[in-house]
């Protein structure tokens, strides 16, 4: 074996318990870094997923007084040319009310083409009782709303709306059959949405063949490019000429994004400071080791070891501490995360053990450990054997 490496290992073996303690210390530090890093990444992606994963990321709406989009099928055909889009669905939305005893509740009647809307809203798996609304005058309602209404499947619910006819407003109502109940894990949606078919809404509100919005989702790894994709669509389809406007989740959620960004930044800061303290720890441990081993170094130099080899001993020590610290830290960090998920009741955060992050962390840790060994290595290189030999 390479002599400096063999000496580095011998020095460690000689003070086994001290070495083990140091590795444990480094591992704990690094486990914090791994824990914080992975937890925050997972938290952010869970947050994002909950926020925009199951909703419209790009939306086309009317830009005029008249909320209705005519010829929407042609627009959808054009949109299908965009490969970045994973879901395109038209929606016919109308504000409406329902009677709950003497109380009047405001609701949003949403007409979807179920097959198109499912990829965006992921409705089917969120129905905890009954089935999707697929026929005329069938509807599903949210959990919180039904906590108030206390309906069963196949019960009926009358929905009231207003249709504008010239200057006059005309009241309309339809009685829907409730075929299922959904839970979007959002009180707002569960309270307000009543989902039915496009045709039902179109018929009730006299909308003919129009809708009120076209909603889209983009591929997951293009989530942060939704604004650019929306711009492309805008240009390509000349939406302005048709009195339409396009919006995207990024422009509408700047605050959330800023929040996520500063959260990510603070996580980076924590990780950096943990890393710095680990590096300082390694550096001071090795600096002490140089002093502890100066007699050996003096003898080795008298025997003709080069200054380069004398410094390599401690660079290897840094490398070894880094490797074991990284392994120990990653194992511990993942263990802590596992414990965290076991202990926390909510399944809101799905921990993603991002292998790229883990490997990159390991590389940074090992690299930093070698850097931490540079100053002790220089000390070892500069150590004058005379000083040691005279010391007695």
């Amino acid at each position: 074996m390479n002599l400096p490496l063999s000496i580095a290992l011998r020095f460690f073996r000689r003070s086994k318990s001290q070495t083990i303690l140091i590795v444990i210390g480094i591992s704990i530090g690094i486990s914090v870094q791994i824990f914080v890093g992975l937890l925050l990444q997972s938290l952010q992606s869970s947050l994002l997923n909950n926020f925009v994963g199951n909703s419209s990321q790009i939306t086309i709406e009317s830009d005029t007084e008249n909320p209705y989009i005519e010829g929407y099928e042609g627009i959808i055909e054009d949109l299908e040319e965009f490969d970045e889009l994973t879901g395109i669905a038209a929606a016919a939305d109308r504000p409406a009310t329902i009677q709950d005893g003497l109380k009047t509740r405001n609701v949003l009647l949403r007409g979807f083409n179920i097959d198109d809307a499912d990829p965006i809203y992921n409705i089917a798996p969120r129905i905890y009782e009954g089935e999707e609304a697929s026929g005329d005058l069938e509807a599903i309602i949210g959990k919180e709303l039904n906590d108030e209404l206390d309906l069963d499947t196949d019960d009926t619910l009358t929905i009231f709306g207003i249709v504008k006819k010239g200057e006059d407003n005309m009241a309309v109502n339809r009685t829907f059959k409730i075929v299922g109940f959904f839970d979007f894990e959002s009180e707002g949606i569960n309270n307000q949405w009543i989902i039915t078919t496009i045709e039902s809404v179109q018929e009730m509100f006299n909308m003919n063949k129009t809708v009120t919005s076209i909603e889209m989702q983009v591929e997951e790894d293009l989530l942060y490019e939704a604004d650019e994709i929306a711009d492309d669509i805008d240009k390509e389809l000349d939406l302005e000429d048709d009195g339409l406007k396009i919006s995207n989740w990024i422009d509408e959620n700047q605050q959330l994004l800023n929040g996520l960004q500063s959260q990510g930044l603070s996580s980076l800061f924590i990780q950096a400071f943990v890393l710095i303290s680990v590096v300082i720890g390694i550096s001071s441990v090795l600096a002490i080791s140089v002093v502890q081993k100066q007699q050996q170094l003096g003898i080795l130099k008298a025997m003709g070891i080069t200054n380069r080899s004398a410094s390599l001993i401690f660079l290897f020590q840094g490398l070894i501490l880094g490797i074991f610290g990284a392994i120990g830290g990653i194992v511990l960090g993942i263990f802590f995360l596992w414990g965290f998920t076991q202990a926390s009741a909510s399944d809101f955060i799905v921990i993603q053990y991002n292998p790229i992050f883990i490997l990159a962390s390991a590389a940074i840790i090992i690299g930093s450990s070698v850097l931490a060994a540079v100053s002790p290595a220089i000390k070892s290189s500069k150590l004058n054997p005379i000083e040691v030999i005279r010391g007695g």
Partner: protein, 248 residues
């Protein structure tokens, strides 16, 4: 005419060369100062030559400059003034790398303290100079290391760590280690300063054997006259000057 002059010069140079060759160590006009706030002169105009295969001792009171002199010879330190030659090559102008190689190949050190690397066994300690030379450890090198331990009478403790050996055993291991690369020169600074009389005599008998068997040039520092008497040449240093140079 011109030709014969050149020839003459050649032979002169040859003469100088062989003259130097005869001396394995040569010190010329060595001054050594230490600078600790004030400059203190420790060695004064030292001129010394040592013949290949000789057994020399340096004696003198404590603080007279013996160790300083030996460290200069061993290239661990540099003279303030003067020239030092080992095997005809000037050492005080060598690079650190050249010095490391010279120490590894041509010089063996034995110190009063710091016998062995406590992380290694006796045998591993003896092998260290060879490993430092970056040459492969062959069967022959292992045999040589074992032979040296046998020569020193400590083959029984070859697998012991330093802590599990007596002081005399440790020092004999250190001598075996110093001899591993078959150096021309063995430098020993009060090697028995910490040993009892029996161990001391044992070590000196061994040094004598080494000198005779391996033709190693030995310089040993001691403050015991009795020991110095056993060597072929006694150099006495006083206040940084050569006070006596006795050749038997």
């Amino acid at each position: 005419m011109v030709e014969s002059q050149i020839k003459k010069l050649d032979t002169q140079e040859d003469f100088v060369k062989t003259e130097k060759k005869a001396f394995v160590i040569e010190l010329k006009n060595i001054d050594k100062f230490y600078y600790t706030g004030v400059a203190t002169q420790v060695l004064f105009d030292i001129n010394l030559q040592f013949r290949q295969g000789s057994f020399n001792s340096i004696v003198g009171p404590s603080g007279s400059g013996k160790s300083t002199l030996m460290n200069l010879i061993g290239t661990l330190d540099k003279p303030t003034k003067g020239e030092i030659y080992i095997d005809g090559k000037r050492t005080d102008k060598m690079t650190k790398k050249e010095l490391a190689e010279l120490r590894n190949k041509a010089i063996g050190f034995v110190f009063q303290f710091h016998y062995l690397l406590p992380e290694y066994t006796a045998l591993e300690n003896v092998l260290l100079p060879h490993r430092i030379s970056k040459e492969k450890i062959t069967k022959e090198t292992k045999t040589r290391a074992l032979d040296l331990l046998t020569f020193m009478g400590i083959e029984d403790v070859k697998n012991n760590l330093a802590n599990n050996m007596s002081g005399g055993q440790q020092q004999r291991t250190a001598i075996a280690r110093a001899l591993m690369n078959n150096p021309k020169i063995l430098l020993a600074d009060e090697p028995t300063g910490n040993l009892d009389t029996d161990s001391t005599d044992r070590v000196y008998d061994l040094l004598r054997d080494i000198n005779e068997d391996f033709k190693t040039t030995i310089i040993v520092i001691t403050h015991e006259r009795r020991i110095a008497e056993k060597t072929d040449r006694i150099i006495e240093i006083r206040d940084g000057r050569i006070h006596l140079d006795l050749l038997k």
